[in-house]
């Protein structure tokens, strides 16, 4: 599902990661670990196509990351408490991505299903700017799951979540055994729920 070959990303002279190879089979969950500043978010951005690799290549389902088919296959949750339209409600934020990914008739059922699954219903119509960090994180996760992506990239999804919310997240992932996940996290419990791990070393 996800293949990375000899990937390197640097900013100026600062190398974030280099010579990175990764093969993730469909349905596998990869835990992405490493200390603060080790490049976990940078790698996820590269896999989502919003940041280009300096060298090397990465593909999703055989398509180069960043291409339209690869973006169609990929759900992204980077910086889960950010990247939301603050004035829009949780429902409208999820619905926007649904309208960009799904046929019109499929939008409302998809949004309603995710609201229920991640327990957004209590604040679905509240502007996101009035939501707590944990509520916002759940909105971001719901948004990343819209349209049934084949690959899900999650950047520390549980850092703002309480225990019941983290359980909701993992239940949502368990309901999708075909979903391939790359999950950046510092939680040991998250590590335990993944089949394999990739640990990035901090840049020198």
């Amino acid at each position: 599902m996800l293949t990375v070959r000899r990937a390197q990303r640097r900013f100026g002279r600062r190398v974030i990661f280099t010579d990175l190879d990764l093969d993730v089979a469909a349905g596998a969950r990869v835990f992405l670990g490493g200390s603060n500043g080790s490049g976990k978010t940078t790698l996820l951005r590269c896999l989502s196509g919003t940041l280009a690799l300096s060298t090397g290549q990465a593909t999703v389902g055989g398509h180069p990351v960043g291409s339209l088919p690869a973006r169609r296959l990929t759900g992204v949750c980077l910086a889960p408490e950010q990247g939301l339209y603050e004035k829009l409600s949780a429902r409208e934020n999820v619905a926007l991505v649904a309208r960009l990914r799904l046929p019109r008739r499929a939008v409302a059922p998809a949004v309603a299903g995710l609201e229920e699954e991640l327990d957004l219903t209590g604040y679905a119509t509240v502007p996101v700017e009035r939501c707590s960090a944990g509520m916002r994180a759940r909105v971001s996760i719901a948004r990343a799951l819209v349209g049934g992506p084949a690959l899900l990239l999650l950047d520390e999804p549980s850092r703002s979540l309480d225990d019941p919310s983290r359980l909701l997240l993992w239940q949502a992932l368990d309901r999708r055994p075909e979903l391939t996940c790359v999950i950046a996290s510092h939680h040991a419990d998250d590590r335990r729920r993944c089949q394999s791990a990739l640990t990035l070393a901090a840049a020198a």
Binding site: M1, F17, D23, A26, R71, Y85, K87, L100, A150
Partner: protein, 289 residues
């Protein structure tokens, strides 16, 4: 930096998730979704419209008094306008379109870069042209509404002469002019994404285009070859067409030229927008702090 490699193994051959196979949204639906995103926030709409109308009326009244005190020199070509106020009122109305194309659109892109929503949109399966037009769609729909309000106030309260106006022509030229300027706006948005400093560039474009397009004074007063050279600018064509439509003149040529300019500018600007996104992805500036 440490070379790191890992292989996640699980039985291959599982079916891929639905998104890759299922029919998705079409490009028109995506553009409408992006416009609807902005309409979903009434605070972007109600108060700005009221404030803008108040500002616009005061601005127009200032020029009404200026036109009573200062008289253009004999022989000045006011492009069919019966008075200087009639001339400048049309200029100020179209200035709204110039501002939507420049400062408003670049401001929006800057906000989206800072909030991370541009990065979110860039990660979605949205064709570049749909993303570009969808991003510009709301400011231009809003500016058409504002222009309509301005023209109504001008005609009913401030004495704009409209007895010979062809309102169908006014509408067509205004819409075609806005569409052509959308191309300019998307080009500026691309500059903002790729280079930054879009706010400064936008202000320069507003001042420059309003100076050479006949917003405040006839282009015939420009020095040297400028009156002839500026004839190709969509902003000038739109202003000439609007003044013609409001005074019973021929506006069809202007409308045709603006549609041709739109057909040229929008694809070029969308291409530039796509290039800008790729440059930003390379530099890591799709999200700016």
């Amino acid at each position: 930096m440490t070379p790191t490699a890992a292989t996640a193994t699980r039985a291959a051959g599982r079916r891929e998730g639905g998104a890759g196979r299922r029919g998705g949204a079409n490009a028109v639906g995506m553009v409408l979704a992006l416009v609807r995103r902005d309409l979903g926030d009434p605070r972007q709409f109600r108060l700005p419209l009221l404030l803008d109308v108040a500002f616009g009326v005061v601005n127009l009244v200032v020029f009404l008094f200026i036109s009573r005190v200062l008289t253009p020199a004999t022989g000045t070509d006011l492009t069919r306008s019966p008075s200087y106020f009639d001339f400048v009122a049309v200029g100020i109305t179209f200035l709204l379109v110039l501002q939507a194309a420049s400062t408003q659109l670049t401001g929006r892109v800057i906000r989206e870069q800072r909030s991370g929503t541009l990065e979110l949109l860039a990660a979605q399966p949205v064709p570049v042209s749909a993303l570009a037009i969808g991003t510009a769609g709301y400011p231009f729909l809003f500016v058409l509404l504002r222009s309509g309000v301005y023209l109504t106030i001008l005609a009913t309260v401030l004495g704009l002469r409209t007895e010979h106006a062809d309102w169908w022509g006014v509408t067509v030229v205004l819409v075609a002019g806005s569409a052509a300027m959308m191309g300019v706006g998307i080009g500026l948005a691309a500059f903002t994404i790729a280079v930054g400093h879009g706010d400064g560039a936008a202000r320069l474009v507003v001042v420059g285009l309003s100076f050479v397009s006949g917003t405040y004074f006839p282009v015939s007063e420009l020095p040297g070859p400028l009156p002839e050279l500026t004839a190709v600018l969509p902003s000038r064509i739109a202003l000439d067409g609007l003044r013609a439509a409001l005074t019973g003149g021929h506006w069809a040529w202007s409308a045709g030229a603006l549609l041709a300019a739109t057909a040229l500018l929008l694809p070029v600007a969308s291409w530039a927008f796509g290039r800008a996104l790729r440059i930003a992805a390379r530099r890591g500036t799709l999200k700016r702090d």
